[in-house]
């Protein structure tokens, strides 16, 4: 614990290797190979990589669901298999492995009980989470009847029921509509501001780019690139200027000056709104006019206990 405070490290992975073996204990696949990671408190850390690159295996080792073949893993200053560590983690798996016969309320109540939350606190948090994920009106329906996106919202809610210090999200926006995606991204940013650490594994590079402070790109079980998002993506050799529309004469003079001073042809275009922003505006307008919902209701509300 002291080490964690001193270094601010929430996760320390040194030379982690995971080899899957067959029934006869013969090595079959080397899923993770000599991985080193150091994730600090309050960071949003993105794990990227193609299918089979070792992202999920790494996450499962961090959660104690798999055992490392070699190397060391420390999560919140302890072994990932320690029950005290698990009390401080929230996890959303790549598929929402929920009990189909439970309602969202019962699901959250069950997971809340596993965290030993007091009945009153549990009820309050469940209400806020259902409100936040837009599932309040569907709280009495079985999860089995839900669309993938709605089940994903329940999965997200269960990952936050314990107000975790470390949130591990595996493809959190998969199956969500753009409103839900934006909401999840905003949630991650808010949690990080509160000092929570977030690990995000996703194939949606735009999502990762939007929210992550640092990323690691895995390939064949090893890290091929690691660092701050801006630092990795920035093109030091070029500059972009954004300014109000210029009269043609002024524009011609500016371009002439650049050609003369730099000696290269500059590129000129109009900045455009991205599709996500446009979609959100349309839905927000429609939402103001609609009175009834059957699916998840768009909401900007954030659970109170997650804001504190």
């Amino acid at each position: 614990m002291d080490m964690e405070k001193q270094a601010g490290a929430v996760i320390e992975v040194n030379n982690l290797t995971k080899v899957f073996k067959d029934f006869w204990r013969r090595p079959k696949v080397r899923a993770v190979d000599g991985l080193n990671l150091d994730i600090k408190k309050g960071e949003i850390f993105g794990l990227l990589g193609p299918n089979g690159s070792g992202k999920s295996t790494t996450i499962k080792i961090l959660l104690g669901l798999l055992h490392a073949t070699s190397g060391s893993v420390t999560v919140l200053g302890r072994s990932p298999r320690d029950v005290a560590t698990k009390a401080r983690i929230g996890y959303l798996p790549e598929e929402s492995y929920l009990y189909n016969y439970l309602t969202p309320y019962e699901t959250l109540n069950f997971y809340g009980s596993l965290f030993g939350l007091d009945g009153r606190v549990r009820r309050e948090r469940i209400d806020q989470l259902l409100e936040m994920t837009g599932l309040k009106h569907a709280a009495g329906r079985s999860v089995g009847e839900f669309s993938k996106g709605m089940a994903r919202r329940v999965g997200l809610a269960q990952a936050l029921i314990n107000d975790p210090e470390l949130v591990i999200l595996d493809e959190p926006t998969s199956g969500l509509d753009p409103v839900g995606c934006r909401q999840v991204k905003d949630l991650m940013i808010t949690l990080a501001k509160r000092g929570k650490t977030i690990i995000l594994s996703s194939h949606l590079l735009a999502d990762v780019e939007d929210v992550c402070d640092r990323i690691a790109i895995l390939y064949n079980g090893s890290i091929r690139a690691q660092g701050g998002v801006n630092q990795l993506l920035e093109k030091q050799e070029s500059v972009r200027l954004t300014m109000p529309s210029l009269p043609p004469e002024v524009m011609r003079k500016v371009l002439e000056l650049i050609r003369k001073e730099v000696g290269k042809e500059p590129q000129v275009d109009h900045p455009s709104m991205n599709l996500e922003q446009f979609f959100l505006e349309v839905v927000e307008k429609a939402n103001r006019m609609a009175s009834q919902q059957s699916g998840a209701a768009p909401t900007e509300m954030m659970a109170d206990y997650l804001k504190k």
Partner: protein, 466 residues
């Protein structure tokens, strides 16, 4: 504890929402109500009630046992396969809490289902007693002999001791030739003694001594119908003989406080019921050793022939101890204990294997456990057939017999305590029996559960091929 209860209630909820619970209740109801309609019995009302109790409760136990083994075999393995357990395992719960939660869930479900079974059986019995076209005498017999918890007392079996005493006596007198093996002599003495004990020749007298327990479960002044002596005997050659004998029951000083004559032609077994009246009971209880003496005199005469008694079950004394409802309750607790053991076996298999494999392993363990006792009996019988010959057995035979003996030693203490059989015979299922089974089940379930949790802790839940 909160975690254990949360997992237990989740297990119950799963059974209710998946309709397993309702289906089991419907099947049990059909069996409990439908089976008595197909039972014929021996034509007597007592026989009908006895079979009703034995078959309905027996079949309900088998159904619940199979359902418990099946449900427990899938309780953990199916959640590992569907990965639902990933979300539970990453929460702050120990592996033993997951195992225990599942176990408690199955236990609670079995308690509900056994309560349902017990209440249905009680309802059926009361309905049959009230609305069947039977005489008052038949109803009285059923109430006194079947719908009760009666302690069974038998004369002390001294065969082993008498065999040893006679052998030692012969050794002391030098009556055994040096070339005869000890086992052969013992066997011969034993056979002779068994013949003496089971056959009463014409003009011979045979006595049995039985101790009446001090703590009777009823008031001595209100002993009517509470104690019954049951004697079972047969002529040596059935069909061609008649038995003429006198039975007396009393104490050493007054052996004929009660006496009755049997006289007539008999085919097969003859059952004689002698109610122990208040004056007889008082005389026996007044003695410090509370010994009751039963005497049979095989009257000599033209029509009298040798009479044969079963050495173990020839003379039985039934003493009322409790009502039927409490006896049924205790019998169901023993059934519950056995179901719990099945749940422990299934859950442990479930921590290690996939659902089909876990089910197969659990059923195999149960089958082998039940068969072990019969294998031992069989091997002992074969031993007798070949007595005197040089024993020839392969290494494999020796090993398998050793394994079976060990298995039998483990499971026999649990399997030997029967509850449905005695209940349907109106025999007491005592709290001592319940306590013994409870202790054994706790011990075995902890042992099996401990092994299950150990394996579960070592298992990687998120392996790609699970």
């Amino acid at each position: 504890m909160t975690g254990v209860l949360a997992i237990a209630f989740l297990q119950i909820r799963a059974a209710i929402r998946s309709k397993l619970f309702v289906t089991l209740m419907a099947v049990l109801f059909l069996v409990l109500v439908g089976l008595p309609l197909t039972i014929k019995g021996d034509g007597t009302f007592a026989g009908q009630i006895k079979l009703l109790l034995y078959y309905t409760l027996g079949l309900a136990t088998i159904i619940l046992g199979a359902a418990t083994l099946w449900a427990s075999s899938g309780a953990i393995s199916l959640e590992v396969e569907s990965r639902q357990l990933h979300l539970v395992a990453v929460k702050p719960v120990y592996h033993f809490q997951i195992w225990l939660g599942k176990f408690v869930g199955l236990l609670i479900m079995n308690i509900f289902l056994l309560c349902f079974t017990g209440l249905t059986v009680l309802g059926l019995i009361y309905w049959t007693l009230s609305f069947g076209a039977r005489s008052d005498q038949e109803r009285k017999v059923v109430r006194e002999e079947l719908l009760a918890g009666r302690r069974l007392t038998k004369p002390q079996d001294t065969l082993q001791q008498e065999t040893r005493d006679r052998y030692n006596d012969m050794v002391a007198k030098g009556a055994i030739p040096a070339d005869v093996m000890r086992e052969e002599v013992l066997m011969s003495i034993k056979k002779e003694l068994i013949a003496d004990k089971t056959i009463v020749r014409p003009s011979a007298v045979r006595q049995w001594s039985m101790e009446i327990p001090a703590d009777l479960g009823f008031d001595k002044s209100d002993s009517a119908g509470k104690m019954m002596l049951k004697i079972q005997f047969s002529p040596v050659r059935a069909g061609t003989n008649a038995v003429s004998g006198k039975w007396s029951v009393g104490t050493e000083e007054k052996p004929d406080i009660f006496s009755t004559e049997t006289d007539g032609r008999m085919d097969g077994l003859y059952n004689l019921s002698i109610p122990v009246a208040a004056d007889l009971l008082e005389a026996v209880m007044a003695r410090p050793d509370r010994k009751m003496i039963v005497t049979f005199v095989n009257n000599d005469g033209e029509k009298s022939k040798p009479v044969m008694f079963d050495r173990i079950n020839g003379i039985k004394l039934f003493i009322w101890e409790s009502g039927f409802e409490s006896n049924l309750f205790r019998a169901l607790i023993i059934v519950l204990c056995r179901l719990s053991l099945l749940a422990a076996i299934g859950l442990t298999a479930s921590t290690l294997f996939s659902f089909p494999v876990a089910t197969f392993v659990s059923f195999s363990v149960l089958l082998v456990a039940c068969m072990a006792h019969y294998f031992i009996l069989l091997s002992e019988m074969e031993g007798h057939v070949h007595a005197g010959e040089e024993a020839k057995s392969s290494y494999w035979e020796d090993t398998s017999e050793y394994a079976m003996r060990k298995l039998d030693e483990v499971f026999e203490p649990i399997l030997q305590v029967e509850s449905v059989g005695p209940l349907s015979d109106g025999i007491l299922v005592s709290w001592r029996d319940v306590g013994r089974v409870l202790m054994m089940i706790c011990f075995y379930s902890s042992l099996i559960g401990g092994a299950g949790v150990f394996l579960f802790r070592r298992r990687e839940l998120a392996l790609p091929y699970t």
